[in-house]
Symmetry: D2
Subunit: 282 residues, 4 copies
């Protein structure tokens, strides 16, 4: 079982300036907080400052927040939260390996989240979802336009109101409007080491190019296909004996592990988005 490693969490992003860490730790120190973990990073090109601090005890969060606002430059983004489990929805089509991985981990407290629903564009994974006691919602793509399908999904997400939506091998492209409405809250697993092999059938593309490694990429979804901020990537070696089908089979192992890792980082509030990149305090 993986516990969130601290009971309270501070996340700050702002422009860097001299003495920031001293000021921030000063507020925590005077507030009687006990720091149990701390990461900071200043992005060289942009001068953006990111800090994630886990702490215990101390003043009320509202009080700390007031002090922090007073101490920091105007415009700083300041999150102060007590830790707690998140609610996520998984969207799927037919392939079970990513959904199964998430269901298993969530069921056995190996992911700090509750999967509150699975939305399928096909009915194939209803049994898998329900065997873990998770409601399955069919937003069929048969006999309806993509717009109608997306309206169904939108309505379902509106009712469920999850913290994050995980595209766990959901094989359709969401509209820019849909993505904009859920900005920063949709995580996708793409079955290649992006930016190689964007778009459809990446394993077929990889096979045709004759690569010796295949990979997978977990990323936030933005309106540009396969171009959102990358959270995690991993690869596996292949050789001439791998057909496109065998590459896909081997790739599934990479996909589910990369997705699980990226999702944990997001759920533990370890990920900051900076432009089209991520800062991950693992």
């Amino acid at each position: 079982m993986v516990k969130r490693p601290c009971s309270k969490l501070l996340r700050i992003s702002c422009r860097d300036e001299t003495g920031l860490v001293h000021k921030i730790t000063g507020v925590l120190y005077r507030g009687g907080c006990n720091i149990v973990s701390n990461h900071e990073f200043v992005e060289p090109g942009t001068g953006a400052f990111f800090m994630r601090t886990g702490f215990e005890g101390g003043s009320e969060l509202a009080e700390l927040r007031r002090e922090m606002v007073a101490a920091l430059p105007a415009g700083a983004s300041i999150d102060l939260t007590a830790s707690g489990s998140r609610r996520i929805v998984a969207m799927v089509t037919r392939e079970p390996h990513c959904l199964g991985e998430l269901l298993l981990r969530a069921a056995h407290k190996d992911l700090p989240a509750k999967i509150v629903g699975v939305v399928g564009s096909r009915p194939d994974l209803q049994g898998l979802s329900e065997s873990f006691g998770v409601p399955f919602y069919l937003a069929s793509t048969t006999d309806c336009s993509h717009a109608e399908h997306e309206a169904d999904v939108r309505r379902l997400l509106g009712e469920i109101a999850p913290d994050y939506v995980v595209l766990a091998k959901y094989m359709r492209i969401l509209s820019p409007q849909f993505v904009a409405d859920h900005a920063g809250r949709i995580i996708n697993i793409h079955h290649s080491f992006l930016p190689a092999f964007t778009g459809a059938r990446p394993y077929q593309q990889a096979y045709e190019r004759g690569v010796k490694i295949i990979g997978a990429t977990a990323h936030f979804v933005t309106s540009e296909l396969d171009a959102g901020p990358i959270i995690a990537q991993d690869v596996q070696h292949v050789d001439h004996r791998f057909t496109a089908r065998k590459m896909a089979a081997a790739g599934r192992d990479v996909e589910k592990m990369v997705l699980a890792k990226a999702l944990r980082w997001v759920l533990e509030d370890r990920v900051f988005v900076s432009g089209n990149k991520t800062v991950v305090f693992d």
Copy 2:
């Protein structure tokens, strides 16, 4: 010290047909040859058959070859060779890590080749080459056109007549004619996991895309830039703390190891080219 693992080598490529392995091993058996290693592969899509067999003893190679030609379908490519060290030329510009790796390995019998010359487009690596007793030839690119530079290189290679040319961070693009004239004999190291980041400044491209892995690709050079048959690839994890410069530093370690591995496979006759792919019997 790495020894070539057998004293004689048979390499066959042809269209697959039933009984091929039986026929080939029959020729070897009747010729009194002792097989010490054997690999075969039939490419699913094309039905192309590849076989590499190391053996000792037996009839004269010319005699075996006659028997093999008689036993195999017309048009089969049959190589029968006694093993021996190859002669290679390295082409470089400024970066020393790949050249140094090759010089060290060749000097200490960790590569089955003799580096018989280094051709530099700049004089920077003359000292490194000569410290290993390897002649350095300057084919300058200063105050001359690329065509003149390439003519210099062509003349040098004509005189040295190496078995293979290794582009060990040679930062120029060879003309299609040059490549065609040395088809299948030029190996390049590209500083990305192709097909991601073709062309110039791949680490800068990788940095801008925010990838979490960088890589390197050793491939045969063809007339299409960065599109030749891939021999070996490897990657390394990076994170948000890596600037483009730091990615390049980390990448150098991958580059030199991938190049050395691919080159060893080529020199040990383990690599077959099949269309735009390679079959590597490692």
Copy 3:
């Protein structure tokens, strides 16, 4: 979905002698068999010969077997089988990650086996097993001796008669007699890169030693603890921030993937045991 790659399979092990491959492929050729995959290996130290050949069509297996016996040296081990799914039993204690991985894969045809039962030394994983429709048998270790527990297990396995028994985080040591009675048919996942950290609490040992990599080992169980033939191993990097508990969490990912990989190889008849080692034709 992973298919067994051929409809018939030949496995041979014997002492090497000149012309073996020619003789074996001759039997197949004359029997009208179409070879679709082939691996052979001669162990340098012992001169033991191993061959695994997938083929289609041809004579009856009994007929081929007679021919093969006649062609090969006395004492050769010859297996000729039509492929088919295996029946396995998983033994567990409390940790769900390995069992869950196997159940998911088997349920979705990503493992060529049917899990016909789960035997637990505790009741913790009954729900997980049954959610996949797999019978769970409690062989409790509470209020009974280890011998009584083992007698229960023995009786259950006698009734179920599986092809293989998989110790999927079964945290007890089986007696030499039990192991001998199921020789070559019990696969265990050990939570370290053996031979480092045999015995109990390997992650605690790893933490105390301050290692920078942790790992997992899938192996056949023999009467000597953690000393059986290794089938597969993998590792993961850790650093000073990893407590023993965090190492264990990270290690679970390695454990389940290594176990699944090793088990697939065993179920696809790719593994030969040679003394205390394995030959794996992957």
Copy 4:
């Protein structure tokens, strides 16, 4: 070329207490220092606090040091240094790959150190050293006792007075007294993933055990053989086709890369020793 990433460096280790980071950053802030990198870590079991901060500008180091001593608990270890290249001596026997790697990197500014001498227990690597312009000292082990050999080495190191001694495949065991006299300043590369295969001939041991991974370990040398604090480890997959000799050949690549990585971390002052472990701020 790798640059040390900042012009001044603060390293602190002490017992943890509330407000430490705030106090330390306060001294730097009031001293006008600009922090460019920062790492801290509190060891869970021991409560030991480690911090490494790179900074530019600000007061004189002596002045900062006085302020820091006043602000921190008694007994805190405080290092304040301007960065600069270190002087190292490599000790070798016969194998060239690790020495070659270090010589190449140092020659091309890919290691923040000057190799001021190579001490060999045999003359084999004199040519390699001198081709890079590095003096070679023979401390022969022929016709003399180990004590006499060690006295030679001691005298040489006394004259050269390096910052660190790197055992780059030096195949002898140094006496506890020698190790004690150079405590924390001797780095060794061991050719296994410790604690597996301590002592002699680890690849032969690995071969006999039938492992599927081999590795290498860079560690500080202590009086107990192969038991000092581990700085870095890495591994490589092998299979049944690897003889002990082929494992050794493959292992050499891991050895030299692990040693180079560990040494860079040490030379960049990224490594703290905590009991028998290391904290590495990479």
